[in-house]
């Protein structure tokens, strides 16, 4: 075992950094993907990154509030997905196979 590994126990910071990276990937995903469904997924990634942060911080702070918050966030995420998918379904019915870039009649 090299000393780095042995010395290293993942601290809260590690989790936070991981969460930040995940959040960043999610954000980049929203920017680069054109399929609205995949964009939603990326938003889910971002929310999960936040959840991860909350949980890690809750542990570090010794406060259950962070975990409770994650619980609520999950509810919100679920609700968002439901509604978001609803919107997509109603759009896709009208325009099957449209990408996010195609849906740009309103501009200027």
């Amino acid at each position: 075992m090299n000393p780095l590994l042995s010395a290293a126990t993942p601290t809260t910071t590690w989790y936070l950094v991981l969460a930040a990276v995940l959040f960043g990937i999610g954000a980049v995903g929203v920017l680069v993907r054109r399929n609205p469904l995949v964009m939603f997924m990326c938003i889910e990634l971002m929310l999960n990154a936040v959840n991860l942060s909350f949980v890690a911080l809750a542990k570090r702070l010794g406060d259950i509030g962070g975990q409770t918050t994650v619980f609520f966030v999950m509810v919100v995420a679920a609700a968002e997905v439901v509604v978001g998918l609803g919107i997509i379904v109603s759009i896709m019915r009208r325009r099957p196979g449209a990408t996010a870039d195609d849906i740009a009649a309103l501009k200027g």
Binding site: I43, L57, R60, G66, F72, A100
Partner: protein
């Protein structure tokens, strides 16, 4: 296992929300179980729900005056005059929007109880946002409002634009919510609480060593992103024109009035209750956002040809004005900023509902005729409607004797009170630029000659319920412009927030 120590609930304090919630559920349940209700009844029921809510809010206003502000449900909600001011504004606006929606839905063949239930549910979200003393609660309120608005924006199923706006709003809203939430997480990490007043207290007692507050500030930054998105401030405004234009017009007015009111109330609370100690950090950001909003909103508005879109940009500019008040409120010892922002919101809400109600009538069947040409000849066809629109537009431009002037005056005064003269001047000059767009609409209504094809257009119908809304808004706009004293005093009373 120790028993759960349920928090005591001050039922009177939450009664307005309960009334609204009950209204929403009644509409939903009874409405979906029965056949189509008679014309306008859904809207009238909504109004009937709103009226007692407003009354209760006034009772609470009085109570808070006597007993002082309280925080209830384990500090999750603050019942102070900031809350109540916002609540009154929100509920009144809901009533007005509901009334103006009634005939719209009939015309567009979308009638049903769901829209009204959605309004009321969204109103609860908005009320929660305005009163939340906990970030989690605020986030949930925000999401309730937002999700309802996503749905409402996309709810005109015959219009592709409506669905497009719903999708855009949803994607960007979700994106911004994630930032907002991340901001909450980082603040939580730095302070150990999600409670606003708790956070404020903690920060007051905390001395940060070098760099220790970096996470706090990063959280603050992300929080401002979320809030900036909701209030539609530059540079988070990109959704606004598209969504305002595409959404069904009553929904647009809902967003512009209630949405903005709730978001600003939440913003004020976050910044002034949780983070007043970091005012030196956020004030410059708000300053930049304010200036950028007034200027860019105005400039972009000038280049438009669609009235709804113009007003969307102008709402960005108005948001900038309100941000000036917020910025002023960030100065230590300031007593003018918060009241001016609230006053602006109250006056603007009514104004914007009136404006969009007119637009919803002019947009004619299909809700598509919102370009400038559609307003051509309105003064001949419907002089009273054109006159009302003129009042609204002048008010938005900040002409005296209308509420718009009082609103701007208050904000400018707040800025001047804190020596932010540059902001004040930039804002006033930008409002001149914005005046161009109001003038353009008026030119269409009053000064343009009829063109071929105009006479074959569908005539603009002015149904009774919408007329009531417009009349009420006009009266309020002028009365508040001439006798604004009571509103100013009320907004000033809101200074005593739960800290």
């Amino acid at each position: 296992m120790p028993p759960i120590d349920y928090p005591a609930i001050d039922w009177l304090a939450v009664s307005p929300m309960i009334v609204v919630l009950v209204g929403a559920l009644v509409l939903l349940v009874v409405g979906s179980l029965t056949r189509m209700w008679p014309r306008s009844l859904y809207a009238l029921v909504t109004v009937a729900v709103v009226v007692p809510a407003v009354i209760l809010e006034m009772v609470l206003w009085n109570r808070v005056g006597h007993e002082g502000p309280v925080s209830i449900v384990d500090d999750a909600l603050s019942i102070d005059r900031l809350t109540l001011f916002a609540w009154i504004g929100i509920t009144v606006a809901v009533g007005l929007v509901a009334l103006s929606t009634s005939e719209y839905l009939r015309r567009e063949e979308l009638d049903g109880p769901e829209t009204y239930a959605m309004y009321l549910a969204a109103a609860i979200g908005a009320m929660v946002m305005a009163s939340a003393n906990d970030f989690v609660v605020m986030f949930l309120g925000l999401e309730t409002l937002s999700i309802a608005l996503y749905v409402l924006a996309a709810s005109h199923r015959r219009r592709a634009e409506s669905q497009e706006s719903g999708l855009k709003y949803f994607v960007l809203g979700g994106f911004a919510s994630a930032f907002f939430l991340y901001g909450i997480a980082l603040l939580y990490g730095s302070t150990g609480t999600t409670n606003l007043s708790g956070m404020g207290e903690f920060l007051r007692g905390q001395v940060f060593l070098d760099g220790d507050d970096a996470m706090l500030l990063a959280g603050l930054a992300l929080l401002l992103v979320g809030l900036g998105f909701k209030i539609a401030a530059v540079p988070f405004h990109f959704w606004t024109p598209d969504v305002y234009q595409g959404a069904p017009t009553p929904t647009t007015s809902f967003m512009a009035s209630i949405g903005k009111f709730a978001a600003f109330a939440a913003m004020l609370r976050v910044l002034l209750v949780a983070l007043p100690t970091r005012a030196d950090d956020w004030r410059p950001v708000v300053w930049v956002m304010a200036i950028a909003s007034v200027v860019i909103g105005s400039i972009l508005a000038v280049a438009q040809t669609d009235v709804k879109r113009m007003l969307a940009y102008s709402s960005i500019s108005h948001a900038g004005f309100i941000l000036i008040g917020v910025e002023a409120a960030g100065h230590s010892g300031d007593t003018a900023g918060l009241p001016s922002a609230l006053l602006y919101l109250m006056l603007y809400s009514v104004l914007v509902v009136g404006t969009f109600t007119v637009i919803s009538l002019v947009s004619r069947t299909g809700d598509g005729r919102t370009d400038l040409a559609s307003f051509r000849g309105l003064s001949k066809e419907r002089p009273a409607l054109a006159l009302a629109m003129t009042v609204f537009l002048f008010a938005q431009a900040g002409m005296p004797v209308t509420s718009g002037f009082i609103a701007k005056f208050g904000v400018i005064k707040a800025a001047a009170d804190n020596q932010s003269y540059a902001v004040a001047i930039v804002a006033m000059v930008a409002s001149v630029i914005a005046a161009v767009l109001y003038l353009r609409i008026m030119i269409s209504m009053w000064l343009s000659d009829a063109e071929t094809g105009d006479e074959t257009r569908e005539k603009v119908a002015v149904p009774f319920t919408s007329a009531i809304v417009i009349l009420a808004a006009v009266i309020f706009t002028i009365v508040a412009g001439v006798f604004p004293g009571w509103l100013i005093d009320a907004s000033r009373d809101a200074l005593a927030v739960v800290r």
